[in-house]
Symmetry: D2
């Protein structure tokens, strides 16, 4: 082992609750693993299911005190806010249509919120939630978890440092294959709600993964999206939402250069499991990153050989090493990236306790959530208008 | 070595002439290497430069008989057509604006033409050349050389066989970085004419490499392009043609499925040398191919593990092995792919001599050339109309 | 997300203590993260340092009750064994020379032991510890953590199923570069003890990483090592232990085939961060695995295309999916692999509580530890005898 | 295209003859393609088969003058030496047992020899041929063709420049899978002679591919082999020669450092088509090269990020660019690498005509051939002596 390990910070674990995430859910378990990894949190309360019995059973299974296993988020918000040892932060891991009300409820009680993406079911709600969050005495963290990957932080820092010069091109693609056939009619719960507009909102692939791709592109590049032209498709017969999206992007001018981009989100692309990929090119160099092998970042200074930067390896910047745990060559993965957002949340919450704003904490917020919903609605509007360029309504 | 070698066919070498390709040219030398590799041709005449002294010097350098080193293509067409041992085929390797006239001249003399792409300077010329070629007693071969790669032939055959099911998605990208800075003002001859509309035509990156990417996508997928929406940029100040193009594609419906696609062509993308890449997905599977490591084709039957097909390796189809020379694991490259078009040309010319149409010979023709120019003009029109979808005029 | 998530098992967290792993240690933190990830354990006691003040400070930092922050492992073994809520298992994460005594002490108290590798400072101690463990009313788990990687489990299961036929070739390599220069004289604590024979034992690279490579090769292939021929080197002047090892291997005959192999362990190989790699070939096929991108396993059935098997993806076997948490395409890493051993330990300990032997729990044990030390000593003996083949003394 | 093309040199084509390489042969066709690619040679005479009718038929097929299609190499040497326009160089592409006599015959006639490897059937012959070559008024070029790859030249030049510091480690591996089953009993001519000691000599895999791997390691590293310890196996029942070899290497001390290495050659390794690979590490950096993707060289200066050097790309040295034809990103392959040796031969022959020694021409010679045979015999001797270290007899 070449380096000394990074270790946990334990100045009092933060009390965490959860809305959603009962048995059979996928992302709830991910949140819990992410919250445990670095020991900043202790999971103490939950409204884990809209079915009371299931909520109770799930709470028991997860080792919660039955008194703190609630039948509804309203009850949980009420009671936890009233306890001296009540939760300080709640993770909302329900389908999209169930984000807004609980998020609002907890924020209004002064309880911090860690919320899944897309932040709400539609843009109006996202803006309303932003208004709530802006007034609230609490933090709002949006789990665009791919921003937690160290080499994404590395790319962001390098771009901010000017290592790529002025940014010209931003290409994001996020192909998956799991909805190539109508899995939603073959018993997959994950497929069911993601293809159901009542639960997902106006976006299928664009909502579920397109927002991730966009968020990551903006996060890493520092660019601001101005407008887009989209061509959405539903390839699987009978499906109600898009399962493939082709999008052209225009960003706001910066230093006299207006970056352009493309975004491809697909859930019907055999050969791709979770193929999120980012390519950013500037006047002085380019980077490339692939989620499926996330510990590496290709960096090419124009006119020089390609370099393969490695997490925690040579030329790693502080922005990347501070969210790394183990030496280069020892791969960290999806859960560590997710956990990095929980670490950032913990740092922010501890600073908040002390009335401070932490300097170097970086996580997606309600602003990113509004952009995500504006993106979804612009995609739908553009596609319906045969690809007309639509400005983002943010 | 695992397999017996494929060898040359020598039933009389075919007499080859060349227009363009004198000293300092790039692609002329490529054509000559490609023509020599499999010993089907003998290079005997040339109008190698528009400057007579340079033409003569280049001819001498290349070992041509001074009597057959011409000062102009007109003279060459005239005199070679009159010789009993005159050239049977001519390779036209000049810049784009110098394709139409010579091609027309040789076709009208009944001399076969192997021509560089894009086929002409504009669409009207391409259509006119098609009319000439249709009437001519000669073949027309367009060197969209990437169609010569064995694993592209493999992909094409698999798709034609239905191994991917109905095609839904066709993604082509062709990023390069060599025009990131204004090389055309720093002495690069290759950059000069490629960024000069008088010589290149209406397209910069879309003409030089976008047409390659499109041609390859159509060739492999068997799809027909219906319309496109484009966003062209010129990132380098003062440059007169596009150096980056983002394009969305719609193909003609087939078996009830209308494929969609994206195409990215860029010459200002640091990190990419010659990054032509193709991804095609259907209802039953997907393929992925990368020009920079061309001996491999990823193939994923939906629901099965990814397979890495190797040129001349297991599961290689006849369509690929017939254009392979050496065993799997012994890489063939760009020149071999290019030479495969010369082999196809040789087969076609020999069959033509005998008044036959060869059954299995596959190469791009004037029809592909017309599509290429229609693509360039549609891109420009769409981009000028803020991305309006434009139908291909073919 | 294509699959429903795997979740935690919480039928009572297991009480965990730790010997070593105070501030500045690397592997202690890894053990703690691994123990937390799946929520099977609760960390309640520690003898974290041989320096009492440091032990206390580290305990405080890690949130331990000061009453259970001990100044020595002896005290900890004594007191924890006496408590009703005493630890059920102890993780021993000290340098090699400090494994034997604490392991023995806890085993004799009936406390399960999770111990770092190599298991002891020399072979005699390993055998003595095996005798202790065989008699003890407690389990012994050796953290050859790379055996926890799902795709290693996949390879092992495939080979056991006969998918590769009879095994002929086993190649393991483990190059690193971090000791290319004398880091032990430049302040690296990790380097100091690893190059110090008093703390590490007779092996440098062969002990630190060679034992990992061998263990993994044996684990995956199911083969038994019979003898070896070694050529050890110390390239960095003044270093007291080997920093590079070349080893040829002979395995025991099985089904009439005697597998052969090679093993390379190096800490002076620039270009390699943690390049553990495994190649196993049989009469019917071969596999290849690389630690730095561990979610994939190459599998080539002889005469068929290479397949890239993905963790939790198509063709994943139960042996691999049961140690996976998240869908294919969502990378798991080193910590998850390490945590898999903690999960296996948890299953074994729970079964042990119930007086049962769990059927499908797989982890390295004291037997593997004895093999590791026998390997180290055979390497040294062979190298000293100019590469004479030495039989393993196990 | 980013660079101006390299073109052919045509100061009079060199007259080439061939011994062996008739219909159905593999390597003869490779030599002919290699000789044609850059237009330095004209193929005019052959003794293509030991069967006169086959020789004649093959000559006809290849377009040779029937007068110069000989029934034996003796006749060919005699008659061609007597012609004013006789061949200047002969390529000997027969199985190993048929190299010595023809090579000797042509050298003694003052005709240059390009000869396949291993140079002879045994070491005694190799030494005898060296004696002949040393006295001859002719050049001897040995087609260890992998030395023609530009990125191998790049590695060699970088190492000679000191970019890696003092070399410590040299690892070569050359796994193939095509003899996993007894192909020699299933009709493969290539397999037949390669597994027949009467034709191949004492080495199976070590002779056919082990000599390539060793030659490449020595060529790139500049090191000299001192001794080796080998463990040879014949895994396929009934086969008469080794089909797998594990070898440890010791090189001569240089600057106080004695490099060590390992070499693996196998023809029974499913998963590997032609997996020649080289890793060289020094005190200041390391390189890695893989034949199956030969246009790239990994270079890691110790303590810096890995760099992927590209043929003809950034940081390419003159030693590599002078054997490159086309721009970076346009892959060259096995045939181009082979052709580079023919180019070197052409340069050397032209200089020889003028009584000069060309300065920068680099190709393997009879000295390398002697080393190859000494390697084969040392491997056999060591393996027979249970891995005893054997000094190379050169």
């Amino acid at each position: 082992m070449a380096i000394e390990g990074k270790d946990e910070i334990h100045s009092g674990r933060i009390r965490l609750g959860m809305v959603g995430g009962g048995s059979g859910a996928f992302i709830g378990g991910v949140h819990r693993m992410a919250s445990r990894l670095d020991d900043h949190f202790t999971f103490v309360a939950g409204a884990l299911s809209s079915t009371p019995e299931k909520a109770l059973a799930s709470g028991k299974e997860l080792g919660l005190d039955p008194d703190r296993t609630y039948g509804s988020y309203e009850e949980m918000a009420e009671k936890e806010a009233a306890r001296e040892d009540g939760i300080e932060v709640v993770a909302i891991v329900t389908p999209n249509h169930m984000h807004f009300e609980p998020a609002k409820a907890f924020l209004e009680k002064g309880i911090h919120v860690i919320c899944d993406k897309p932040v709400t079911w539609n843009l109006a709600d996202a803006k309303a939630l932003k208004a709530t969050a802006d007034k609230a005495n609490a933090l709002f963290i949006l789990t665009h978890n791919y921003t937690g990957y160290p080499m994404i932080r590395q790319a962001r820092a390098m771009i901010a440092n000017g290592d790529l010069g002025d940014i010209r091109l931003i290409h994001a693609e996020y192909p998956q294959d799991w909805l190539t056939e109508p899995a939603e009619r073959e018993g997959s719960k994950q497929a069911e709600w993601r293809t159901d507009p009542k639960r997902s909102g106006a976006g299928g692939a664009i909502g579920d993964i397109g927002t991730h791709a966009l968020n990551l592109a903006l996060f890493a590049s520092g660019a601001e999206l101005e407008s887009l032209s989209a061509d959405l498709d539903t390839f699987v017969e009978g499906r109600q939402l898009d399962d493939n999206a082709h999008i052209m992007l225009r960003f706001k001018e910066k230093n006299g250069v207006r970056p352009k981009g493309m975004l491809w989100a697909s859930q019907v692309a055999p050969g791709f499991e979770n193929g999120l990929q980012l390519k950013i090119c500037g006047t002085k160099g380019g980077v490339q990153w692939m989620q499926e092998n996330p510990n590496y970042l290709w960096f090419t200074p124009f006119g020089e050989p390609k370099r393969l930067l490695s997490r925690n390896g040579a030329d790693a910047l502080e922005a990347a090493t501070r969210v790394s745990r183990i030496p280069a060559g020892h791969p960290e993965g999806y859960l560590e990236g997710f956990a990095n957002l929980y670490c950032e949340a913990a740092r922010a919450i501890r600073a908040f306790r002390d009335g401070k704003t932490p300097e170097d904490v970086v996580y997606p917020t309600i602003e990113d959530g509004v952009i995500g919903l504006a993106f979804i609605e612009a995609c739908v509007a553009s596609s319906n208008a045969d690809g007309k360029w639509i400005r983002l309504d943010v």
